[in-house]
């Protein structure tokens, strides 16, 4: 397994060098930029590792370990961003007893930069989510939930732009349709707007108006729906939009062996990643930029 990965990697690198021989002369270390994106989804209040007698995930996960890992990656590359794709709440008694307070405190300590809202983040009602906001030192992003007639109005932004080492990273959030999934008493007057139309709009704003170098979507739509194939999913969203570089997904608790490389509506490669649930994995995507504009090389993707 490891050997195969190594061969895949060296092969790809060789290809990169082969194609890029011309621009290599102008490529020097000082002008190269490196951005690391870390992400989680559906952590579901799994603050502690899974129990030793757990059938599937014995001793995996736990916030204290995740924090160490994030810390060491940040040391290696200070230009790191950390995101969550929703369903931070529910499933362990930490949520039943403390309402999400500890989840938000710990995410703040780990330096999360933003998160989107999952259906279970409404489990104590929209008021329950609102009450935990003082504990969150990161932004909640959602571009397709309209909170105008709710307590969350003005507290959730559609997108945020992060500037890291001169690289502009635009990040927006997308939430799943709540009708039939969440009790209406909980989400109240939250309005759900079509994620595809919203994503196209976000992509336009972040690429054209804000001139971002990277556009990332935090999505709680779900990776793919085999039975209900009409339902919007990350794979579908990718194929119907352009200008998004990375979809960080959630909701379906999908364990991918590696990030999915897929094509957007104009045939350009992009990535989708989702890392299961319960804080069992941390997703990591590294972006390497060259300061020189030799745009003809294309981009090498190694997964």
């Amino acid at each position: 397994m490891d050997r195969r990965k190594f061969i895949q990697q060296s092969g790809a690198t060789a290809a990169f060098i082969g194609i890029g021989s011309l621009s290599l002369q102008s490529f020097n270390k000082n002008s190269a930029k490196h951005i690391t994106i870390l992400h989680t989804n559906d952590v579901h209040s799994h603050i502690e590792p899974f129990a030793a007698n757990d059938k599937l995930y014995a001793n995996m996960g736990g916030v204290a370990r995740r924090a160490s890992l994030i810390h060491s990656i940040r040391k290696e590359n200070p230009n790191t961003l950390l995101f969550d794709a929703g369903d931070m709440f529910l499933v362990t008694p930490y949520f039943n007893f403390y309402g999400g307070e500890l989840e938000f405190k710990l995410m703040s300590m780990m330096g999360y930069d933003a998160a989107t809202i999952g259906n279970h983040d409404f489990d104590n009602g929209i008021d329950g989510l609102y009450r935990q906001l003082p504990h969150a030192q990161f932004d909640l992003l959602s571009a397709n939930y309209d909170f105008k007639n709710t307590v969350l109005d003005t507290h959730v932004k559609p997108y945020k732009i992060f500037l890291k080492n001169g690289i502009k990273v635009g990040v927006f959030g997308l939430g799943i349709e709540l009708d039939g999934l969440v009790d209406n008493k909980l989400y109240k007057e939250t309005k759900y707007n079509d994620p595809v139309a919203v994503a196209q709009d976000m992509s336009r704003i972040l690429n054209k108006e804000e001139d971002c170098d990277l556009v990332i979507c935090l999505s709680h739509l779900g990776y793919n729906y085999k039975i209900n194939s009409n339902k919007i999913s990350d794979l579908k969203l990718a194929s119907l939009t352009k200008g998004i570089d990375l979809i960080i997904g959630g909701h379906t608790h999908t364990f991918l062996k590696k990030p999915t490389v897929t094509k957007n509506s104009i045939g350009k490669n992009m990535l989708i990643n989702q890392v299961g649930w319960g804080g069992i994995n941390l997703g990591r995507i590294d972006y390497y930029f060259d300061r020189e504009t030799k745009g003809a090389n294309g981009t090498t993707i190694i997964v």
């Binding site: 489990d123 590294d286 745009g295």
Partner: protein, 251 residues
């Protein structure tokens, strides 16, 4: 000459492309397992500690014993032992309250497969187990349904193909996507009768698209959480004896 054309090509591309100061050269993606080899961050541990201690004292009380694993891990099943356990205990504890309130009895229980969030592992069953199985704060409600709504309910189950928990009063046999038979305490449903079905407030409000629960003839909120019923049941019994008993069959 060849080199010149190539350079020209580059030049034209550079001009026609969007003028960004940087060029994305390489992307590497992977996932990192959070395994037990990673050292725990002591600052995080210190913050978690008081919460953990308070929870531990509340959650570790041993209530019952599980002689085997109760898991809902098979998507192809028509019923699961943990689902039967849940539905039957909801009937028992829910009907006790419903009968006191209304002098009537519940006919059967229907919950949703997704509402069971964890299994119960073999061994001691603690308060924590009840929270893992049922982390939701859902209340029990009883709806009074017409014969037609019961037919809608059965049709929903026939198509959904999930092992939604059903209490033992109801026996259903499906063939393909159709109902072959549906017997309540051994009898067919009666066109002229109405039926009392216990479910969660979540499902009654249209959760899981169980729309037959919306606008019932009457609605009684038992003000009793499903998790409380599990805890009450675990305190009452010594050993969980639930099993698959053929209440739902698909041929």
């Amino acid at each position: 000459m060849k080199l010149f054309i190539w350079l020209l090509g580059f030049f034209m591309l550079a001009v026609s492309c969007k003028q960004k100061p940087v060029n994305l050269q390489r992307i590497e993606g992977k996932q990192i397992p959070i395994s037990s080899e990673i050292v725990r961050d002591s600052n995080i541990m210190a913050v978690v500690s008081p919460y953990k201690e308070e929870l531990e004292s509340k959650m570790s009380a041993i209530l019952a014993y599980a002689p085997t694993d109760f898991y809902k891990d098979d998507d192809d099943k028509t019923e699961t032992s943990i689902g039967n356990f849940m539905a039957d205990l909801c009937y028992k504890h829910g009907n006790f309250i419903f009968n006191k309130k209304t002098k009537k009895n519940i006919d059967f229980v229907l919950l949703n497969y997704g509402g069971i969030r964890a299994g119960i592992s073999k061994g001691d069953v603690t308060t924590r187990s009840a929270y893992e199985v049922m982390p939701f704060e859902n209340n029990m409600v009883v709806v009074e349904l017409t014969y037609q709504k019961i037919q809608d309910l059965l049709a929903y189950l026939a198509i959904s193909k999930k092992a939604h928990p059903i209490s033992k009063q109801l026996h259903i046999s499906f063939k393909d996507n159709n109902i072959k038979s549906a017997l309540l305490n051994g009898k067919n449903f009666d066109k002229n009768k109405t039926y009392f079905v216990l479910t969660s407030d979540y499902l009654q409000n249209g959760g899981n698209h169980m729309n037959f629960f919306k606008e019932p003839l009457s609605l009684t909120n038992l003000d009793y959480k499903i998790r409380k019923a599990i805890l009450d049941e675990l305190e009452e019994i010594d050993t969980i004896k639930a099993k698959e008993d053929g209440r739902v069959i698909r041929k």
